[in-house]
Symmetry: C2
Amino acid sequence: LKNQDKVRFREEFLDLHPTDQNELFIQMSLEKRKRVYEYLTAAEFADIFKGLSLKYQKEVFSELEDMYGLEMLRELPADEITDFFSEIPDHISNYLLEKMEKKEAENIKLLLSYKEDTAGSLMTTEFVTVKPTETVSKIMEQLRREGENAETIYYLYVTNEIGTLNGVISLRELITAPLEESVETLMKEQLITVSPFADQEEVSKVIRDYDLLAVPVTTSDGKIIGIVTVDDIIDVLEEETTEDLGDFAAVKGAVDLEVNSFVATKKRLPWLVLLMFIGMLTAGLISSFEATLAEVAILALFIPLIADMGGNTGTQSLAVVVRGLALDQLDRNKIIQLLKREAGAGIMLGVICGLIVSVIALIIPQGNVLLGIIIGTSLMITILFSTISGTIIPLIVHRFNIDPALASGPFITTINDIIGLLTYFSIATVLLQYL
Amino acid sequence: LKNQDKVRFREEFLDLHPTDQNELFIQMSLEKRKRVYEYLTAAEFADIFKGLSLKYQKEVFSELEDMYGLEMLRELPADEITDFFSEIPDHISNYLLEKMEKKEAENIKLLLSYKEDTAGSLMTTEFVTVKPTETVSKIMEQLRREGENAETIYYLYVTNEIGTLNGVISLRELITAPLEESVETLMKEQLITVSPFADQEEVSKVIRDYDLLAVPVTTSDGKIIGIVTVDDIIDVLEEETTEDLGDFAAVKGAVDLEVNSFVATKKRLPWLVLLMFIGMLTAGLISSFEATLAEVAILALFIPLIADMGGNTGTQSLAVVVRGLALDQLDRNKIIQLLKREAGAGIMLGVICGLIVSVIALIIPQGNVLLGIIIGTSLMITILFSTISGTIIPLIVHRFNIDPALASGPFITTINDIIGLLTYFSIATVLLQYL
């Protein structure tokens, strides 16, 4: 395909959707990539650049000639440039900012100033504002001129002279309205806005709940400074899921395929060591029942079973609560209802599993009725307590804003081990006289 | 607020955003709800109804008078009606279908025929088609007339006489184009479409990757039969996350706050019982080392520690793989790279935790060098194996399309327990002669 035939390459390549251009580009060798930079204009290449991961963007940008790179940056939306700039060394981004148009550079500096994962860092400054006194036909003309540069033209934001947001009108409403109508009479005045400091999870909740394509970001005095669009929110949702799962498994930010063994080890080790020390408590716990254990060695056989079942039921309840919290579905009533339900489920699961294991303990070679009672009762209590702790602990952690990884599966499992084994050995010690 | 003052209620209530109307409505008593039905027209109430959960919809619909209900249904988009109809008993939905306009009823019957969680069941049939020969100004007029009924007017689908999709043009492109241009010259001909049988996960991947606001659903002969819009996809993403988390915790569809204790128990019990039987293997395993255990009772102390640490490291690796699979990031190269990384991390984590625990086993009251060696080595091997099994098992399960819950945290934990304890007691038995 690419035997130096510039015309044909341009024709076929530019006919593809940017996402597909992207996929092809990623697979190219350095030599082929260089030829792409030569054949495509900076504006055309910007479409490809936009879709690359930040890691690739850094690599590719270093391959571009200075002028070509700058020209390309000019074609990118402000929020893309900001993401890219926050990844590269400060002296390079400062150098590039100096070379850029002054207004654009200021926009980007503003965006760079917001903390990661806030509405401010997600938003773009390329939105369309209209004056309240304009008519529909005037605005259509305005869109014809400005439409190409904005991130979305499907919402038009109505502002006064000093930039205060007074209303919003969708392009759809505009199109179905009479041409001579003024914006003022058409616009919606109940505004749904977010603050630039709002967490990205909050922003995505607003967009999801109100089925919006974009939400305006306003300062406390009501000035519009940007918009967050739905495509950014889809990426946020993916990211949040990754984060939640990381918390759930106590990996914390190591659910990333890109990092190497050392980074992965460094991120996981603290949690493992912490868990190990908590786990040692169980060793201490068992040791205090050593007399019981020495007398009836068969008790040791069921240690892992009791421990595992506690962990499993706890993890199941945990999943329910974590999900409920993520979706913001848990108000006071729901929590009480949930606690009742989980307690109910815990009792039923405990009784059934306890009965099954009792029967098994009865029929195994060394088994007997008493062993059955001990194990069955312990398992029942363990499952009940684990279900409840798997429900309550994440709620408490959430309420007090503690690091959510402390309510992860491994932590719940370890805590439930301790509860379960304590129950198990206590019952065994009490009943031992009858064994 | 609602002392029979219809005019004032209408004014204030209708001024709210539908999502907020919704929240208010949910909190109303039956009496107040009845008054709402009386004060609002069916069309106005449709906006509220749309936003209710299916459970509420059923309840509310039964409170409506026949005619009012039917009139309201007429105002709902086809995909909303379909969702609602698939929840209510067949005889009621059939009765309602008969009362509806013929064309509308046929549309809904079509939508109802697609399996849940496919593009066909997600799509709406209310989209805008245009003829290739029309000019920009003609289409603007068409939109002015039809615009209000379509789910989105931001993409216009260009079809020939028999409904084959030939191209697509965004409203933005249309608006920035000269008025006399024909659609044919403006439209994009590289189409991104999905089949009505495509899984919803696939559909959301397409929308996400191509940053679309909607994707057309086409039959195998290229006819467009519907579109899936981005707001439906956001709901799908939430749903998929819930499902993934459910699989991860082996709860399978019980991560739902609405179900009661009995349903929750019924869904979780099979997994717990299965896990319990696997867990009994560990009891069997330990019993085969009973001689060793009887001689050195202190070994029992560290059973939970070895078991827990295996589970924890396995869960961490599992989270990485599950997420990678969900995001479709794992090709052959990435998998090899990941295996290498996890093995590397496993070795490092194993050595460090092994060393720490050795030192502790050395200094505790009954501890000695040999116990330190046994526990340290076992822990090291357990962590290494668990990291690898946490990586490989989900990959195998995924490759062979087995129920993914079989690669959940609890399963990995149980399997790693067996590996860990087997290692532990084997090493202990071999070294016992020196103890």
